[in-house]
């Protein structure tokens, strides 16, 4: 027996898939082969027309739904949205979720072994772009026998991968679902990323990225980076509602111990991230965010970039998201309209901020569910 909920995909076993084709990267280097950690949920139909790709964001991984074992405290990171009868319905779709190249959860990345040296790649692992990820994911699709995705879906940095799929490989994606994303990040976003990077790079325990051999991790820097991220994932209003200005004690301590609830929350979030994430991967992810700019090779004309696309688009934004604000989603929508593409746009009333794209908001899930019902129609 198991005790998994009826609308859960239940127990899942990740598998490591080897990509034996060389992968030419935007930085100019080539990986002769690489491995990707993958989970799949549901069943691929006979003509392989029901496959959905989930693209993860900054700190995500392949474990999007279900449980790895009966002892799991919690399911995958998007379990509220993926499962039988859920908006990404595994009774209808074959859902593929991977840990991106450069990740730290089993896919080839800075913390895996460099075959040339027998030691972890560390700082020798190439920096990647969203385009590189799309290339890697396309090779994965080949291995899985998926010529065309019914839909590619992602939030935040994941949404950038979705856009790049639609632009770079238009024949291989029918529906593009871009959630809480942006056509490129702002100078302010780059600035936040730069501080996170400097926190890690300047941590003496970083050892230039070669900390694996030093029996330490740059925990101070990674913790600061994560704390900073959390502020940008939450709205001012949400932090006020969640923590207020509550002091943990009745009176101020007049020292630097935890005094306010919000401090306690941030320190906990920072520390738990250190226990599960790799500093080199964090650096790589923030750089991929900074570099993303699909309009660049089209004369800074995003509509020209989208003219390459053939997919239908669903763009979703959240009212309380200040990191990837609705205004940024509207830029995407406007360029898609200018490019003559088929696009639906939903602005979801929300409170939490950027993190709302992970939440089971009824309005949000209704939009996703009804849109994805179209995704099983045959290719146009």
């Amino acid at each position: 027996m198991n005790a998994y909920p009826a609308d859960s995909v239940g127990r899942v076993v990740p598998r490591k898939i080897a990509i034996e084709q060389p992968l030419a990267l935007d930085c100019g280097r080539t990986l002769p082969r690489h491995e990707l950690m993958v989970e799949t949920y549901g069943t691929l139909n006979a003509d392989a027309s029901n496959a959905v790709l989930i693209c993860h964001a900054l700190s995500g991984d392949h474990h999007a739904a279900g449980y790895h074992g009966d002892d799991d405290r919690k399911p995958g990171w998007w379990d509220n949205c993926i499962g039988p009868g859920k908006p990404i319905d595994t009774a209808r779709f074959y859902v593929v979720s991977l840990n991106n190249l450069g990740g730290c959860r089993g896919s080839t990345g800075p913390n895996s072994i460099n075959p040339d040296t027998g030691a972890p790649w560390g700082p020798d692992f190439p920096l990647l772009t969203v385009r590189d990820w799309v290339r890697s994911q396309a090779l994965l699709a080949d291995v899985l026998g998926i010529r065309q995705w019914a839909a590619v879906i992602g939030g935040s940095l994941g949404g950038m991968q979705v856009m790049q799929w639609a632009i770079d490989l238009p024949e291989r994606i029918r529906h593009a679902v871009v959630i809480a994303s942006a056509p490129k990040i702002s100078a302010q976003n780059i600035a936040f990323n730069e501080i996170a990077r400097q926190a890690i790079l300047s941590d003496p325990d970083f050892h230039g990225g070669r900390f694996y051999g030093e029996n330490v991790v740059p925990s101070r820097g990674l913790k600061l980076a994560r704390m900073l991220g959390h502020i940008t994932y939450l709205s001012d209003q949400a932090m006020r509602a969640k923590f207020g200005r509550e002091l943990k004690a009745a009176t101020p301590s007049f020292n630097f111990d935890v005094e306010f609830e919000v401090e306690s929350y941030l320190r906990y979030q920072g520390q738990s991230f250190v226990d599960r994430f790799d500093a080199n991967t964090y650096l790589l992810m923030t750089k991929a965010l900074d570099y993303f700019d699909p309009a660049r090779e089209f004369g800074d004309d995003l509509a020209a970039a989208f003219r390459q696309a053939r997919a239908r688009f669903l763009v979703i934004a959240f009212t309380s998201d200040w990191r990837f604000s609705p205004a940024r989603s509207r830029e995407i929508v406007k360029s898609l309209v200018d490019a003559g593409r088929d696009v639906s746009y939903a602005l979801i009333d929300s409170q939490l901020g950027h993190d709302d794209f992970l939440m089971p908001l009824p309005q949000y899930h209704r939009v996703l569910r009804s849109y994805l019902a179209r995704a099983l129609e045959p290719a146009a």
Copy 2:
């Protein structure tokens, strides 16, 4: 000869003023004496009715206007607003500007000598509140022979001191000018402060605050703290206008060198701050910000706090300020109105963000100038 502009206060000489009265602090400790670095501009009139106090913000000091010498590259931090004929008109007002207690520019603070040990105070220096500063500034007023300020003026953390003056010492302040401030900071603001503190506290060169004897300063942490501050002082829009997403080189470098203009700016700002500021003072200033909450001892009723006040108020906010947003200033105004106080409110169209309170925006300076014309009227 000198080459100072005609509307400059010209050359100024800071002086150190000893406060020999004991100062009882909110933390329960008492400083038997302390010293304050002070600059004054203009002339105190016969009945000492034209004195204006300038309260500085997080990283400010006593040097608000004029030049310390002919070689000065730039004048004091609010020189565009203080001088003969300027909005804070030194032809009419006697302007007093100090480095607050706990500062690092000559006033008694963590980097000055603890008489009990003969070594720098460091972490043994007491944490302070805005109320403590008002008490210290009142002792300074006594020394200077100023019974009642024509006006107390400050932006940001400075504006908090202004409010506290009006509440705690109502007979000693005729006009309260509160600029780009808040009745208390939000959980999000506390979160930003907490990350800045953790960056400093976790820097191995911090040595628990006793770095003065170690021939190092916690430069990594202080730099990160300042970089983070800068993001919150500038609007998203201003960063976009100032830096865009301009790469310094034609193509990405695929390493962690400076790539975007905004990174270059932040690293420069961070480094120059390390050269002029003390880490213990930075910690102390952020704690004073977190603690400020004048409504607290009035049952969380800000209007009840303001019922103590007798001053007339001018409250100024800036449209592009997201750190201390106009909504926070309206909270102040609403409570003043509820308390039956005389209050004027000006919302200034601006682009830059929180830093606009330091800028010579014509609309802003017109409001200040015309309001302060009233400040020389006799006390009500």
